[in-house]
């Protein structure tokens, strides 16, 4: 394969993505500098940094940034740890392993909206929810999850959905681990933890990098779970950046300010990406 052919093969993907990025991004940047309120079309004109200032000075701006980062950090921590633990548990032959695997990966296929509806109505509802029933059974006061712990409730929902993803990737990677090496280590008297630390985790470095990267991308823009359950509340306790932009764009139809928010979100996402790539990029083995 000569270099020209290699470039030709890559060209469609790169060109399309450039278009996909440049055109909407260009329009977004343009919108972010003008007055553009769908319901007030007669007010137009250039406002410079006005929309950015309006978005940035929103009292929910910093809480939203903080919530976004908490949400991403917590769900990744939970899904990676839980996914790894599950993968280790299932990494041995036993009867019904196929069924266990199927049960464990199923939540990943559920629509985010449906996920949120199940948890809100059937699990976490303080009166009818199963948690409330279990709590009452043990003589405890049912917890009003979505009011008391709104952000953690969202974390639970998202983790439920994404743990299977981490589990799946880790499980398959484990299957290719060098068994002879492990047996040798066992004969040498190395216990479970030293083996995990020195053999298994290094083996999982790249899958872990992939899981973290992909999940970060998806979790930075969590939306459906918040929209269906808490609407970002109470107050701003579960408002993330995406939801804040949504409030501007679709509930007040202020396209200008929403565009400014979008640009800020892209910048934030890229900052996070740079950090991540610094931290785990070397594991990607390019």
């Amino acid at each position: 394969m000569n270099p020209t052919l290699a470039r030709l093969l890559q060209a469609p993907a790169i060109l399309l993505l450039v278009l996909w990025m440049i055109v909407p991004l260009g329009m977004t940047i343009y919108f972010s500098t003008i007055r553009y309120q769908l319901l007030n079309p007669e007010r137009t004109g250039f406002v410079g940094w006005g929309n950015y200032v309006f978005f940035y000075t929103d009292r929910n701006f910093w809480p939203a940034i903080w919530n976004t980062l908490t949400l991403v950090g917590l769900t990744i921590a939970i899904t990676v740890v839980l996914g790894l633990a599950l993968a280790l548990l299932v990494d041995r032959p036993f009867r019904g392993r196929g069924i266990v695997r199927v049960l464990l990966i199923s939540p990943f296929f559920i629509m985010p909206t449906v996920n949120a509806l199940i948890w809100k109505n059937m699990m976490m509802n303080p009166i009818y929810g199963l948690f409330a029933v279990i709590w009452s059974f043990f003589g405890l006061d049912p917890v009003d999850w979505l009011t008391r712990y709104p952000l953690y409730s969202i974390v639970i929902m998202v983790s439920w959905q994404w743990t299977p993803f981490a589990f799946l990737i880790f499980m398959t990677s484990l299957q290719s681990q060098d068994q002879e090496q492990k047996e040798a280590a066992t004969l040498d008297g190395a216990g479970f933890w030293p083996q995990l630390w020195h053999l298994t985790l290094p083996h999982l470095a790249r899958p872990m990098a992939i899981v973290i990267l992909i999940q970060t991308i998806f979790h930075l823009s969590i939306f459906a779970e918040i929209y269906v359950t808490t609407s970002g509340g109470p107050g701003n306790r579960s408002t993330n950046l995406t939801f804040l932009i949504f409030q501007q764009a679709l509930s007040s139809f202020n396209v200008g300010v929403a565009a400014a928010g979008g640009v800020i979100a892209i910048i934030l996402a890229n900052i996070v990406a740079i950090f991540l790539i610094r931290a785990i990029g070397k594991n990607l083995a390019v």
Binding site: L38, R59, P126, I127, S231, G233, L250, S251, S252
Partner: protein, 434 residues
């Protein structure tokens, strides 16, 4: 660019062949509530009378429908031929010529529609949307629980203190019985619809005469403080995420003593198939703390035809059909008289079968007729639970969040109202009111 565009359109059309709506086919955007679903089921009757028209439905929840139709209408997208919108949107959209003025035959009998509703959907006497059903707010209560707590019933227009007293007497947390259930889920059409109305009954208002927001007034403080205290005393757990549906479920299960909300709920609680309290309900006009004006809201879901529609004639024929007296009769005869859309036409209440089938009709009608949403010397806006200006959605949503935070105890009522004032002030300034 022109040839490129033409090519692109050509390609897209070729690819989407068959997917493009043809003339004679109309698309209706609607919300997923009971009356609208009945309308969908009866579409066949309309298509039979109008064989040249085929009707397609797009059903979404209220919030999503509002987003969809607003993006569509403000960009003249033309994706919908009929839209289900409310009293809040009609004056704003009508004034921008986004809606087609409605002209119907004499048989339609426009004057049969209640004045308050018709005026709310008209600009200078021209109707821009036809009411599908109208509603106000009132007290609906579980007779057994109220009487069990030692009260004969609830009088019309009681004081809020009376309500609080009855609620406290009913509440039995160990048994899972709560004296009063009220909306707490944030949103301008959710908790703010109720709280705004309640605040008005305390003499508060959204905006002062100069359009500065009035959330820093002592009346707002009194209303919200009362609301939070009463809900902590006698409300169910999880109130911060309760809205119409959640409370309806609680009422139907017999877990709530009282509920102050849309009158339409009455018809949903009187169906024995879904409600354990059917036949055991009492109704009373809304409470107040000294101000009767705007102590109950007025709302109508209405059908309108966007100016961007390519099938306006067909769309108008559908709107005329679905909001006519004949339609109401059709529903009564095929789906039962308890299921007819109420609150829009006087003639409905003259139908004997309807009066016989519904215990709530009188209370509902009184509430609708007593609603006072028009601007006054001191209140510059139209609307009770809302203010009919484009900025209200944003303000209502953000302020609703603060109220939920106050209800869940995260912040004090004072703090919540101070935040609300700041939020509203920012939006009004950004919109150039002052």
């Amino acid at each position: 660019m022109k040839p490129l565009r033409t090519t692109a359109i050509g390609l897209a059309l070729a690819a989407a062949a068959g997917a493009v709506a043809t003339a004679g086919e109309i698309t209706i955007g609607t919300i997923n509530n009971g009356h609208m679903l009945v309308m969908q089921e009866l579409t066949a009757a309309f298509e039979e009378q109008n064989p040249d028209i085929k009707v397609n439905w797009v059903t979404l929840d209220e919030g999503q429908l509002r987003q969809r139709v607003t993006t569509d209408i403000s960009t003249r997208g033309g994706q919908f031929d009929v839209m289900t919108i409310g009293m809040y949107e009609v004056p704003i959209w009508g004034a921008r010529d986004w809606l087609v003025p409605l002209e119907f035959s004499d048989a339609y009998d426009k004057d049969d529609i209640y004045d308050a509703i018709r005026n709310g959907l008209s600009i200078d006497g021209t109707m821009y949307a036809a009411p599908f059903y109208g509603e106000s707010s009132m007290i609906m209560y579980n007779m057994e629980l109220v009487q069990g707590a030692g009260f004969d019933g609830i009088e019309d227009r009681p004081s809020w203190d009376t309500i609080r007293e009855i609620a406290a007497a009913i509440t039995d947390r160990d048994a899972g019985i709560y004296g009063i259930c009220l909306r707490g889920k944030p949103g301008w059409g959710e908790n703010m619809a109720f709280l705004g109305t309640m605040a008005h009954s305390f003499g508060a208002q959204y905006f002062n005469n100069d359009w500065t927001p009035a959330f820093d007034s002592p009346e707002w403080n009194a209303a919200v403080t009362f609301y939070v205290e009463m809900m902590n005393e006698s409300g169910p757990p999880g109130s911060a995420s309760n809205s119409f549906n959640e409370i309806l479920a609680l009422m139907n299960e017999g877990r709530c003593g009282m509920w102050i909300d849309a009158t339409i709920a009455a018809s949903l609680m009187t169906d024995p198939a879904t409600s354990k309290v059917a036949g055991n309900l009492g109704f009373a006009q809304s409470p107040n703390a000294g101000t009767v004006e705007r102590s109950n809201w007025l709302w109508a879901w209405a059908l309108a035809v966007p100016a961007g529609s390519n099938n306006q004639d067909e769309a108008l024929r559908f709107v005329e059909w679905a909001t006519s007296q004949d339609y109401i009769r059709l529903v009564g005869e095929t789906k039962g008289w308890g299921a007819v859309p109420t609150g829009s036409r006087q003639s409905t209440y003259a139908i004997e079968e309807f009066a016989a089938a519904t215990a709530f009709a009188d209370a509902e009608l009184e509430a609708i007729l007593s609603a006072t949403p028009n601007p006054t010397d001191t209140i510059p806006y139209t609307g009770v639970q809302f203010a009919a200006i484009p900025e209200f959605q944003a303000i209502g949503n953000a302020v609703g969040q603060e109220m939920t935070a106050a209800l869940s105890g995260d912040i004090s009522v004072e703090q919540a109202l101070a935040n609300a004032q700041e939020i509203a002030d920012r939006e009004m300034r950004q919109a150039g009111y002052y």
